[in-house]
């Protein structure tokens, strides 16, 4: 077994040679060295074998049906997002206009405006509180994907 000082400098370039990632000049240098050095040739052959073994390692594909679902789901998700955006925008605009006209309507007495505003404000406040709690739970509940 011939071990020269050059072996220490070859090191990582063996991998570069194996992967065809070296320049032509470097490739030639490694090639010449391998033809002369038994030790580096052995390491190179082992790395090549390992590379082959790793490339043939078996990992399953994602099921076609599931992949189609993931890819197709995007279109429906975009439409879903758009639909929600449209609904929420419509509702918000209606509320703003409703409140605006309600408060500017001179036929409704002031006490009625205040009472109605308190009732609706309280109702909306409760709804938002419950909604917030539900959203927090849906994001943090580690059992929410468990089928019972």
């Amino acid at each position: 077994m011939k071990n020269t000082r050059l072996c220490e400098h070859i090191g990582e370039q063996l991998s570069g040679f194996l992967d065809d990632e070296l320049s032509q000049q470097e490739n030639q240098r490694i090639s010449v060295h391998l033809s002369q050095c038994e030790s580096c040739t052995k390491t190179y052959e082992q790395l090549k074998q390992i590379q082959g073994a790793v490339s043939e390692t078996f990992y399953p594909n994602m099921e076609q049906q599931k992949m189609n679902a993931v890819l197709q789901d995007l279109t429906s998700r975009r439409m879903f997002d758009f639909a929600w955006f449209a609904i929420v925008s419509g509702v918000l605009i209606s509320i703003v206009f409703g409140v605006y006209h309600f408060w500017l309507d001179s036929n409704i007495p002031l006490y009625s405006k205040v009472v109605m505003s308190l009732i609706w404000g309280g109702g909306i406040g409760l709804f938002l509180t419950v909604l917030r709690q539900r959203l927090i739970i849906s994001k943090t509940d580690k059992y929410n994907k468990v089928d019972l």
């Binding site: 082992q46 590379q51 790793v54 043939e56 078996f58 890819l71």
Partner: protein, 169 residues
């Protein structure tokens, strides 16, 4: 766009599977990554050469997020399932099937013993066949360090495999 995306998705799914070890987790990560690929404004076009490493990087980052979030260890369910599929694929020649399964298991066991960064770089090169430049993009490291990191990882894998073979003659 969806055809190219579908091709990159299978490879990226396996990367997620290799990192997470669970089919369901890898599917979740893929779903998130595909959403980002569609919605992200700075995403390369799916028919460009830059798309694959960019998409792999998204999948890798999402997988790391998933690992952090769950902080749980891989269990044996994954390997059993994979090996059952392998057996059914090569059952025509039982002896060859046994050898292939054993080698497959040895390589996978050795890969699992490697530190995460070393396992990633070996798999990106030797399994996913990415170039050094693409690996640098996926791992967000300078291209100049890919070769040395990969070589160290391969030598570590070689040592582990030598030990495994030595333990199981």
């Amino acid at each position: 766009m969806q055809d190219t995306l579908a091709k990159a998705t299978q490879g990226a799914f396996k990367l997620a599977l290799q990192m997470l070890g669970q089919l369901a987790d890898a599917e979740d990560v893929l779903q998130d990554a595909v959403s980002i690929a569609i919605a992200h404004r700075s995403a390369p076009k799916s028919n460009s050469a830059d798309f694959k490493p960019w998409f792999y990087r998204v999948v890798r980052n999402k997988s790391i997020d998933k690992l952090r979030e769950q902080k749980r260890h891989r269990n044996d369910e994954f390997d059993d399932q994979v090996d059952l599929e392998l057996d059914s694929n090569v059952a025509a020649d039982p002896e060859q099937a046994l050898q292939t399964t054993q080698l497959n298991l040895q390589v996978k066991s050795a890969l699992m013993l490697l530190p995460d960064q070393q396992r990633e770089i070996v798999l990106l090169k030797d399994y996913h066949q990415l170039s050094y430049l693409e690996i640098a993009e996926v791992l967000d490291i300078p291209k100049g360090t890919v070769m040395s990191a990969l070589h160290r990882a391969r030598l570590a894998l070689k040592t582990l495999l030598t030990q495994t073979v030595g333990d199981n003659p």
